[in-house]
């Protein structure tokens, strides 16, 4: 199978706190990997370190079969340049403050195309409109981010990530600030991106039903370590550890 992303024994420490403590995972092309865990368990750190938005403290990361961390290149300029191109392979969507408030919707999507990919303005706008159409917010292209609802904001953020044609999407709790209706809409969009477009995704989510239906692989993280993983329907039906059982019951009770 075609492996997009693989990490082995990934570590990230903040002082004495082990946010990511030896995590290994694999995402093959078209696969959806869901990550669950209570807040502070290291889910966001894991995503950020995978995309090299932070400097991991240990382990290995392979992107499309190439080792991208640790980077043995001696020149730091070269290292920095390579790191930038690695980051551009990840489409990242965050939970909050995602869109740049000084750019319109269209500007947010074209920014990366113009600055990083150096596309001419016309081409960038053309491409951006097509992606915005795909996520069904084309009509908002001239709106300012402050005017958007939470659901629209996240759709635009997804469009911004998709426009860069990333190898995989990293979605960090992107529905946790949304109301139920908007959440359903965004989850439906993700389902479509997975099932129709076969996008590779790693996403942090607390929606059990969504994970069961869309994810191919589910990982439960506690204190920076993987406690359980496997096929979502299986491990959700039969939690092996007390931590996962408690977590699952808490999610069920709150939804």
């Amino acid at each position: 199978m075609d492996t997009v992303l693989e990490c082995r024994g990934l570590k990230k420490w903040y002082g004495t706190v082990k946010a990511v403590d030896g995590v290994s995972l694999t995402a093959t092309r078209g696969q959806v990997v869901a990550i669950m865990g209570k807040s502070g368990s290291g889910k966001s750190s894991l995503l950020r370190n995978l995309a090299l938005l932070e400097e991991p403290d240990g382990g290995q990361i392979f992107l499309n079969g190439q080792e991208v961390f640790p980077d043995s290149t001696p020149s730091w300029q070269e290292q920095r340049r390579r790191r930038q191109s690695v980051r551009a392979c990840f489409g990242f969507v965050f939970q909050r403050f995602t869109l740049w408030p000084h750019r319109t919707v269209l500007g947010n999507v074209t920014e990366g195309l113009r600055v990083v990919k150096r596309l001419p303005k016309q081409d960038a706008q053309h491409l951006a409109l097509a992606v915005l159409h795909k996520v069904k917010v084309e009509h908002l292209c001239h709106a300012w981010p402050e005017r958007l609802s939470g659901g629209e904001t996240q759709r635009v953020a997804i469009a911004r990530a998709l426009a860069m044609a990333p190898d995989l999407l990293c979605l960090d709790e992107i529905t946790s600030a949304l109301d139920p209706v908007q959440t359903a809409g965004v989850l439906a969009l993700l389902r479509e991106l997975s099932q129709v477009e076969h996008k590779t995704m790693i996403l942090v989510t607390h929606h059990l039903e969504f994970a069961r239906e869309v994810a191919d692989h589910l990982i439960f993280i506690d204190q920076g370590r993987i406690l359980e993983e496997g096929k979502p329907s299986q491990i959700l039906a039969h939690p092996q550890t007390e931590e996962f059982r408690t977590f699952k019951n808490a999610v069920l009770a709150s939804s």
Binding site: R87, R96, F97, V115, V116
Partner: protein
């Protein structure tokens, strides 16, 4: 009760060339202070985050002193004390005023810029790096424009304060508005009219800046 005081503004017109000179001098000093203070303030803001401990320490020491010292003290000290130290450090009153105003404004600019960056959520920069922008591109395209929008209203307020502080330079005989007015008063013995005219002049000078600040705020201030 001075109910029967007879106001008479007529004599002021004959001094309008001198007053206009005072206005121009005020604007000139303000412009120098704004340019110099902004450059020095930005430099201080950068030095404050320097990796070199000594530079950082020097910047903080100057900022704290600059925030604490009144302009009046700076003016007198540069004008009288420095010239005692060496004749090389003896300047004309215009130069002294310019130096003091720049030194006085810079720490405020630095603090305003710093808070503009400090209150900016990291996530905007993170999103920029996530699409593959370099550190410089992130700064130029995202962090700087956003911080500037947060900083601008505060900066303009400090610039307006500087314009008004130029009046204090009258004590070292810079022929700006207050100094010119005092000269007029000692000739005409009509302080009430002169001070009233001074008020109108300041109002007319400051008003465009306040309106500009209002406009910029409406146009550029981005809500989150």
């Amino acid at each position: 009760m001075a109910v029967d005081y007879r106001w008479d503004f007529h004599f002021i017109w004959q001094y309008s060339p001198a007053l206009l000179k005072g206005v121009l001098l005020t604007l000139e000093l303000t412009a120098i202070a704004v340019v110099g203070g902004t450059v020095l303030g930005t430099l201080l803001a950068v030095l404050r985050t320097s990796r070199v401990g000594l530079l950082r320490w020097l910047a903080v020491a100057y900022i704290e002193a600059g925030l604490a010292l009144p302009l009046l003290v700076l003016l007198i000290w540069i004008n009288y004390c420095l010239s005692q130290i060496s004749s090389l450090l003896t300047f004309g009153s215009f130069t002294v005023a310019a130096i003091a105003l720049v030194l006085n404004l810079a720490p405020f600019v630095c603090e305003t810029i710093r808070s503009g960056f400090a209150t900016l959520p990291d996530d905007y920069a993170l999103a920029a790096r996530a699409v593959g922008m370099s550190e410089w591109q992130t700064f130029r395209r995202v962090t700087f424009p956003l911080a500037l929008r947060r900083t601008l209203p505060g900066l303009i307020a400090h610039y307006v304060t500087t314009l008004k502080l130029v009046s204090i330079c009258s004590i070292i005989a810079v022929p700006e508005i207050v100094h010119t007015s005092s000269a007029i008063i000692s000739r005409e013995f009509r302080p009430l009219e002169v001070y009233t005219a001074m008020g109108v002049i300041y109002l007319l000078m400051v008003l465009p800046f306040t309106l500009l600040a209002r406009f910029l705020e409406k146009r550029f201030l981005v809500k989150n």
